[in-house]
């Protein structure tokens, strides 16, 4: 990705084609949102709803358990927090950046 941002217009791939599969990983979108999700491990029941719903695969999971949020790619859409089923406190809450 970085190489594209450094290339002059005549060195870019023809027709705006993206030549590498899966290169969204190299595209930083974490700065887009106004709010960001905060993960509360002590409340989380590891139901994986947030992981399923996240449109940017920004929910970090290890050994079947949610461990945190990938802030480099999270756009702050809030879907994870909305979908989180724990009550009365949610395991993911939004806070202003």
């Amino acid at each position: 990705m970085k190489k594209y941002f450094e290339a002059t217009y005549d060195k870019l791939p023809l027709a705006g084609v993206i030549e590498e599969a899966g290169n969204a990983q190299g595209y930083e979108t974490g700065s887009w949102g106004t709010f960001r999700p905060v993960f509360h491990e002590e409340i989380c029941i590891h139901c994986m709803f947030c992981w399923v719903y996240c449109p940017d695969t920004a929910i970090q999971v290890e050994d079947g358990k949610v461990v945190g949020i990938d802030y480099v790619h999270c756009k702050g859409c809030e879907i994870c927090s909305v979908e989180c089923p724990t009550k009365p406190e949610k395991a993911i809450t939004m806070e202003k950046k």
């Binding site: 002059t8 217009y9 005549d10 870019l12 023809l14 027709a15 705006g16 084609v17 993206i18 030549e19």
Partner: protein, 395 residues
């Protein structure tokens, strides 16, 4: 030996398509489609081509299907006319932006309304800034040859830009002429095999075509597209000279034909079939001692600004004939370009513009004579009565 056949322009172009034998042809099978695609469908039904003929539900879909199959790596063509081209407009810009070298014959016909199906240049002129190459034909022979040459120009690796081959509706498309059809194997060899720059079907090298492209790259991609487009300038000349060397034949394989322009004082600039009558009028005037000439533009996009400026600047006067109107512009689209080409030249000729032939209105030699007369008068008196006039308008 090449074959000499009595063909309409549409049939002649269908023969070019048969010889090119594209992998995929998508076409809308109802009006405003012409007999060109009907003839090509015959070739498909008779097993003379291997093309997959996809009959789609609209002209927008015809261009969309062509874009899709070309992006997959298949050589793809379609053809259209008039309002059909207008309906394709959105996808024309996508074809050129994706650098897909689609060749599309366009039978130039009037746009509605009022409803009219006859010849003029309003349709393709409306798409002149869509990033396509526009090559105009004077007769069925040129339409046939331009279709073959357009493949090579569009698919050149430095160009990769779609091209329209324009032929005047009815006068060329439906008029029967004697056409020389070159040998199938020679045409096939000349056109060569299509080598796509990218293909969507290469599973080992997956790509994304048509991704969202915001302010960080869109501008850069458009200028890169323009560079490719501009590369067509020299490729058009190279392909034309190779064609002439391979097949012999006609006169007009460059940007334009300059008829009796060497010592001309007055000239008419014209596109398409009207060049035939204009050539005759020029020869008549020459017999009367008038130093008349004709500039028949073959390549309207990319417009050959410098070459045209060199040719026209020494004239005393010229008249530009436009078969469409650029509403709110300076007369017709050809006039606008020619005037722009002459900026910075000194001296410049007196210039008149004539709109003519809209919706198939006949253009007779007497009308072209009157244009020449008007220029001579304007030069003699130094007085331009009307900057933009009309030929054969009831007024």
């Amino acid at each position: 030996m090449p074959e000499q056949l009595a063909l309409t322009g549409n049939e002649a172009v269908a023969h070019a398509m048969r010889q090119i034998n594209p992998d995929v042809v998508a076409a809308y099978p109802i009006t405003p489609q012409t007999s060109m695609m009907q003839k090509f469908a015959d070739f498909v039904a008779d097993g003379l081509v291997d093309s997959e003929l996809v009959l789609v539900e609209s002209e927008h879909s015809a261009m969309s299907a062509t874009v899709g199959s070309q992006a997959s790596g298949a050589r793809s063509m379609t053809a259209t006319a008039a309002c059909g081209l207008a309906l394709m407009w959105e996808i024309l810009g996508i074809a050129s932006a994706y650098r897909l070298p689609i060749v599309m014959p366009v039978v130039n016909r009037a746009l509605s309304g009022p409803i009219n199906i006859q010849g003029d240049h309003s349709d393709s002129m409306g798409t002149r800034d869509c990033g396509w190459i526009h090559i105009f034909s004077e007769n069925a022979q040129e339409a046939y040859e331009n279709t073959i040459m357009a493949m090579r120009i569009a698919e050149h690796p430095d160009v990769l830009t779609p091209a329209m081959v324009c032929l005047d509706g009815f006068i060329i498309s439906h008029g029967v002429e004697s056409v020389t059809i070159y040998k199938d194997n020679l045409v096939k060899k000349f056109v060569g095999e299509y080598q796509p720059h990218y293909t969507l079907l290469d599973a080992k090298h997956p790509i994304t075509l048509g991704a969202m492209d915001f302010s960080d790259f869109y501008f850069e991609h458009k200028v890169s597209q323009l560079d490719g487009y501009n590369n067509s300038h020299s490729v058009i000349l190279d392909v034309g000279s190779e064609f002439k060397k391979t097949f012999g034949g006609g006169e007009c394989y460059e940007f334009f034909e300059a008829h009796k322009m060497d010592d001309a004082e007055y000239a008419v600039v014209v596109l398409g079939s009207t060049a035939g009558s204009t050539r005759m009028v020029v020869d008549d005037l020459r017999a009367q001692g008038v130093k008349a000439g004709m500039l028949k533009i073959r390549v309207f996009r990319p417009f050959p600004y410098e070459e045209i400026a060199r040719l026209l600047a020494p004239l005393k006067g010229c008249a530009v004939l436009d078969r469409s109107i650029a509403y709110g512009g300076d007369g017709g689209p050809v006039h606008i370009e020619v005037r722009s080409a002459l900026y910075g030249q000194s001296p410049v000729p007196v210039m008149l513009n004539y709109i003519y032939g809209l919706g198939g209105k006949p253009i007779e030699p007497e009308h072209i004579h009157s244009a020449f007369k008007d220029i001579q008068e304007a030069v003699a008196t130094g007085n331009v009565k009307r900057r933009v006039g009309y030929l054969n308008l009831t007024e």
